[in-house]
């Protein structure tokens, strides 16, 4: 008799627990960054959140956690323009926008657009171009909003499998979509995509999801299975382990980039397009590794 009652209570509790899916806790991203600039001569020094011509930012606001990476287009160097200035300023401006709350969590394209507009308001005449990828976690709704312009991107890994990834946007080989500010007169000759051309996506995330945001320096040198292998080693959600894993991924990619015999994804893609190449792709590498965890102050 009693066991029937207690059994019934257990069943009822399970059913009710199953019905109420809504999790009212706020989520947040615990993020660590790591990267390597391409140029050995400068040393592998980190200038704030800049790695070579790449730049990134991590910012928090009341309602959202925001990350971004930008890959400065190196071709500007030939014209006397420092490519890291554009990407670095773009990311710093995005960070400032987020910190001041001048954004809507559901519109990462809006962050890019406003940030690009702010670059034009600078007295300093900025020149250059870069790709950009912005990831926003809305703490309350548990939705991840992303925008990607160019060949940087992100992966979402759940239980050892990639459940979401961004698509590369390229005009043609090695020419990704890019935000740019051209010198006057050269507007026709310089590729300049509008922030509206960015790919956006939105999806739900769960506790324990791993989000890897990186520039093409990572994805061109490390195939998915290697990345997943490294991510398997991530056991807890504390900052130190995430930092360690991010570092190991970046280091591995950096080593592979300079291996002349390794069949990197970049080399594979080139071969598929008729170019007979082999080896890694030396490039700036930026990795932002985040885990969705519960929000703590």
């Amino acid at each position: 008799m009693l066991s029937v009652l207690s059994y019934g209570r257990l069943v009822a509790r399970a059913v009710i627990g199953g019905l109420s899916q809504t999790d009212s806790r706020d989520y947040s991203l615990v993020t660590a960054s790591c990267g390597f600039g391409k140029d050995f001569r400068k040393g592998i020094r980190k200038k704030g959140m800049c790695y070579g011509d790449d730049a990134c930012f991590i910012a928090r606001h009341r309602s959202a956690d925001v990350l971004g990476v930008a890959d400065g287009v190196g071709g500007w160097r030939d014209y006397g323009v420092d490519p890291s200035q554009f990407s670095g300023t773009l990311m710093k401006t995005c960070e400032r926008l987020v910190k001041e709350g001048r954004f809507v969590p559901s519109s990462p394209v809006g962050v890019l657009t406003t940030s690009y507009y702010e670059l034009l308001q600078n007295k300093v005449p900025l020149l250059g171009s870069s790709t950009a990828c912005i990831v926003i976690l809305d703490r309350q709704s548990h939705r991840l909003h992303t925008a990607n312009l160019g060949d940087s991107g992100f992966l979402v890994v759940r239980e050892g499998e990639v459940v979401h990834r961004s698509d590369e946007q390229q005009h043609y080989f090695n020419t990704p979509f890019q935000l740019s500010i051209a010198p006057p007169g050269a507007e026709g000759a310089v590729l300049s995509d509008s922030p509206d051309a960015a790919d956006s996506s939105t999806f739900d995330v769960q506790l324990g999801d791993i989000i890897l945001t990186a520039t093409d320096g990572l994805f061109d040198n490390m195939p998915d299975y290697m990345i997943l292998q490294e991510l398997k080693k991530l056991k807890n959600t504390n900052y130190e382990s995430i930092q360690q894993t991010a570092r190991s991924i970046a280091e591995q990619a950096h080593v592979l980039a300079y291996d002349p015999n390794y069949m990197s994804p970049f080399a594979q893609f080139a071969c598929d397009n008729g170019l007979n190449v082999r080896g890694g792709k030396p490039d700036d590498i930026t990795v932002l590794l985040s885990i969705v965890a519960e929000y703590t102050d």
Partner: protein, 611 residues
């Protein structure tokens, strides 16, 4: 003898030891007291950064931007302790004396009190009301502009409507100029006030500075509980504080002293002075003094209420105390009013439509100049009243009246004698401005800076060229979509143009030849701002050198295409040049600036820096 001496000695010793013990007793008593006092809670000092920027008179940046705009003054500092010209700071629209020297500058008003230097202001709200003990302003570029700090008794974040709003001056000083443009923390000694405040106002004057001043943050330190008077020095009663009383402007009903019944009818030798001489003497008094003087005797009352003393009236220095009642009392004297300055007045319910319209109906008949900058009490009805009561109005300044509804501006087109119109940072729209330009053909000076609601500036330029051929100065700062077509029409039609501000207009391209056409069309050009137009090139500078000998102010900030050689040519051909801003021009480095400054010592060559 010895016994007397020893007695004396004994008494002295006893006295010393007794005072010693008394002293000990005192200290022990003090210790007991302090021990007791230590139990009471000590007043904690609260330090806050500004929570929100509530109001300001101007800024350099664009509306909706966070670069060089006033909203940067809220929150924690972004730049300090670095120095330099950074986007994350709050920058005002102008600096130095350059704008005063232009033809478009308004004439100064008489009777400006000596201590009033303010040209711009910004109001900041803080989270918690405190009794302020210190105010620190972090200035990061060309400091020295702050001239007044005021505190308000009203809490701007409360839902209640403002009642009994009092402003108290915490500190006032002269405009200064610091020798180096480096960052500094400005923390003057402030007066202690009797009410808690979370609304501060900074007033600035940049006329002595060599470049734009930039502010990063403001810190308000204060205590929550009212401090004991014993802990602070009693405020020194200043004679000038007497003018802080709220009565003198409203209490000028002019009632006579009880001596009116006195048998003596004359004023002594004073009566022998000619009327005009007394009027001349009184013309040097400031307005509060004039009102005080009116209360002394019948003769002076008659003089002080003579409308001839009130042909020019500037109430801007008294913005904190002006109310409907004050206007009502001044009404009867202002029937011959020609120039009226109500800038900055009337906020938070101090002035209303009824008070304003009553005053304008009484005094608008001969009004020629009306300054209403930052008058947030204005609404459409007020502008309608102005258009009805001021038939001969020639100058109207509505700068930064950003709460005025776009519909209100239609009424300005009825003022057909307008010569000077300032609409900086207002919400005027396309139809209203076109209507104004259709009817106000006498316009000499027009300011449409930061008018973001105007959709097509080419059409506006075209209308100007067609209707306002006497146009002498035009400010199109940050007009988003003026193209070379509009500019070409403008310079073809308005040949008398002396000043043209095209700063931050991104759609003008030098490759279309528009700047060269401009130089050839405007021989009288004195001021040209092409700030942040990245396309300005050597040919443009050479055309200016060849065609504009009267050029005095030129700003070509941020272009990479202008070389030192063409600048040298310009400075040689235009001997009147006094201001040349080549900040962020990559071909013009400090060495070039030094060389040019040496060759042309009369020219102030500005080169801003970011570190």
């Amino acid at each position: 003898m010895l016994t007397i001496l020893s007695m004396f000695y004994y008494i002295c010793l006893r006295r010393r030891s007794r005072s010693g013990t008394r002293g000990e007793a005192l200290t022990s008593r003090r210790a007991v007291e302090s021990g007791q006092r230590a139990v009471l809670p000590v007043s904690v000092e609260v330090e806050q950064y500004a929570k929100e920027v509530l109001d300001f008179s101007s800024h350099y940046g664009s509306e909706n931007s966070m670069s060089y705009t006033m909203w940067n003054l809220a929150g924690v500092p972004n730049v300090y302790p670095s120095s330099g010209d950074f986007t994350q700071t709050a920058v005002f629209r102008s600096y130095g004396r350059w704008w005063e020297q232009c033809a478009s500058a308004p004439q100064a008003f008489r009777r400006t009190p000596k201590g009033f230097y303010s040209q711009d202001y910004i109001e900041l709200g803080f989270e918690e009301p405190v009794y302020p003990t210190a105010v620190e302003v972090l200035e990061t570029y060309y400091p020295g502009a702050i001239v007044q700090i005021l505190a308000c008794s009203h809490n701007p974040f409360s839902q209640n409507p403002p009642t009994d709003v009092r402003w108290e001056v915490l500190w006032a000083g002269d405009p200064t100029k610091v020798l180096t443009p480096q960052a500094r923390q400005f923390s003057p000694n402030i007066k202690h006030i009797s009410f808690p405040t979370n609304l501060l106002r900074l007033e600035v004057n940049s006329s002595l500075l060599d470049y734009y001043t930039e502010l990063d943050a403001v810190i308000l330190r204060g205590v929550k509980e009212r401090p004991m008077l014993a802990l602070y020095k009693m405020p020194i009663i200043d004679i000038s504080d007497l003018s802080d009383s709220e009565e003198e402007l409203s209490d000028v009903g002019g009632h006579l002293r009880a001596d009116g019944k006195h048998h003596r009818t004359g004023n002594g030798y004073f009566d022998k002075l000619p009327y005009e001489l007394i009027q001349l003497i009184l013309s040097h008094l400031t307005l509060p003094d004039l009102c005080h003087l009116a209360q002394t005797c019948k003769l002076l009352h008659q003089h002080c209420c003579d409308p001839l003393q009130y042909t020019q009236l500037s109430l801007q220095p008294y913005w904190a105390r002006l109310s409907d009642a004050s206007l009502g009392h001044l009404q009867s004297r202002c029937t011959l009013l020609q120039r009226l300055n109500l800038s900055w007045t009337g906020s938070r319910g101090a002035l209303t439509l009824s008070g304003f319209s009553g005053f304008m109906k009484a005094c608008g008949l001969s009004l020629v100049c009306l300054e209403l900058s930052c008058c947030h009490f204005l609404n459409e009805a007020c502008l309608e009243v102005i258009s009805q009561t001021c038939p001969v109005l020639q100058e109207l300044n509505l700068s930064s009246c950003d709460r005025l509804h776009p519909q209100a501006f239609i009424h300005i087109s009825k003022l057909s004698r307008l010569r000077r119109l300032v609409l900086y940072r207002t919400k005027i729209e396309q139809t209203a401005i076109l209507s104004i330009l259709t009817f106000c053909v006498e316009l000499r000076h027009l300011n449409l800076g930061s008018c973001v609601r105007i959709e097509d500036y080419d059409v506006v330029a075209s209308m100007l060229a067609a209707r306002c051929r006497l146009l002498c100065s035009l400010d199109l700062w940050r007009c988003r979509n003026l193209t070379d077509r509009g500019l070409a029409e403008l310079v073809s039609g308005c040949r008398m143009l002396e000043e043209l501000d095209l700063g931050w207009c991104p759609t003008l391209q030098s490759s279309t030849g528009c700047f060269q056409h401009l130089a050839r069309s405007l021989p009288r050009l004195q001021k040209l701002f092409l700030t942040a137009n990245r396309t300005v090139c050597d040919s443009d500078i050479e055309e200016l050198a060849a065609n504009c000998p009267s050029l005095q102010h030129l700003d070509i900030l941020g272009t990479r295409l202008v070389s030192a050689a063409s600048l040298k040519k310009l400075l040689q051909s235009c001997p009147q040049i006094r201001l040349l801003d080549v900040s962020f021009c990559s071909q013009v480095d400090t060495r070039v600036v030094q060389e040019l400054s040496g060759l042309f010592p009369n020219v102030a060559i500005k080169k801003s820096f970011t570190q």
